[in-house]
Amino acid sequence: MLTRSSILRVVSKLLIPPIMLFALYVQFHGDFGPGGGFQAGVIFAAAFILYALIFGVDNARNAVPAWATRTMLASGVLLYGGVGVAAMLLGGDFLDYSVLNADPLTGQHLGITLIEFGVGTTVAGAMITIFLIFDGRLRAEKDD
C-alpha cells in the first residue's frame, strides 16, 4: 500500500530520521531527564511503523527482516538478565549494579545504561514484530 500522496512521503522522509534520533536521545538521556528504555523503544518502533505505513510494508520488511526483530526481542531480555547474572558472578546480589565497577556509582550508572538499553531493544522488537504479524495475517486472509 504505497501512498501516492507526495506530501505524506516527503514529510515522513523528513520526520523519520529525527524520530529515530529522538528515540536514541530518550534512551541514553533517561538518567538525566524524563524518558528511558520503554519510551525509547516505543518511539523507535513508531518511526518504523510510520515508514511501513507510508512506503509499504514490503519495503519495511526489506529494511528490517523478521529475524532481526525477533533477535532484538530476545536479546533485550537476555541483556537485562545477563547484567543481573554478571553482578552475581562478580560477588553481588542479582541486579546489584554496584559491583560492576570499582566505583559503585559508576557501576550503577553502567548497569542502568545497559538494562535500559535491554528494555528499549525488547520493546522496539516487540512492537515491530506485533505490527508485522498483524499485517502478515491480514494478507493471508486476503489471499483466501
Binding site: G36, F38, I49, G84, I115
Partner: protein
Amino acid sequence: MAVTAYSLVRIHNLFAAVMMSGIYSLLGAVVYVVMDAVDVAFTEAAVGAGISTVLMLGTLALTTRMDKETKLVVPIPLAIVTVTGALLIYATMDMPHYGDPGAPVHHHVGPHYIEKSAQEVGPPNIVTSVLASYRGYDTLGETTVVFTAAVGVMALIGRSRRRKKVPPKTDPASKKEQET
C-alpha cells in the same frame, strides 16, 4: 475526558471508537503532566495514544468496522457494575487527600529514595534510579511481559500463516514416521 469516555461507550462505529480511545489516552497524558509525572505522561502518550491506536486499527482491519447491535439495558450486568462502582467510590473516601504529607505512601521507602538516591545510585532523575536500580526486579518482570506478549502474538496469529505455506506432507506426524 468524561466526554470522550461517554462517547466511547455510545459510539457504534469502531473506527471512531479507536480514535476516541487515542484522544482519551492523550488527555490522560496531559493530566499526568499537570501532576508533574513527566515519565508516566511520556509513556502514556507514546503507548496509549500512539502504538495501541495503530494496533487497534490493525485489529479492526482483521475483524469488522461496526459493532453488533445489542439490547440497550441488560439488568443484571448493569446492577453488578453499579454496585461495584459504588463500592469503589466508597473506598476512595478512606484514601488520604491528594498531596497530604501524612499519607502512608510518603512514609515508606519514598523519603529514603529521594534523600539517598543521588549518593547510592547517581542519576539525577530519581524515577530512573527507582525504576532501574531499586526496583530492578519489577522492570525485569515488565520487560519479560512485553517479550511474552510478542511471543504470544507470534504463536497465536503468526503460526497459522506459516502452516498454510507448509505442504501437508511435512506434518509432524509424518516426520516422526521418517525418524523411526
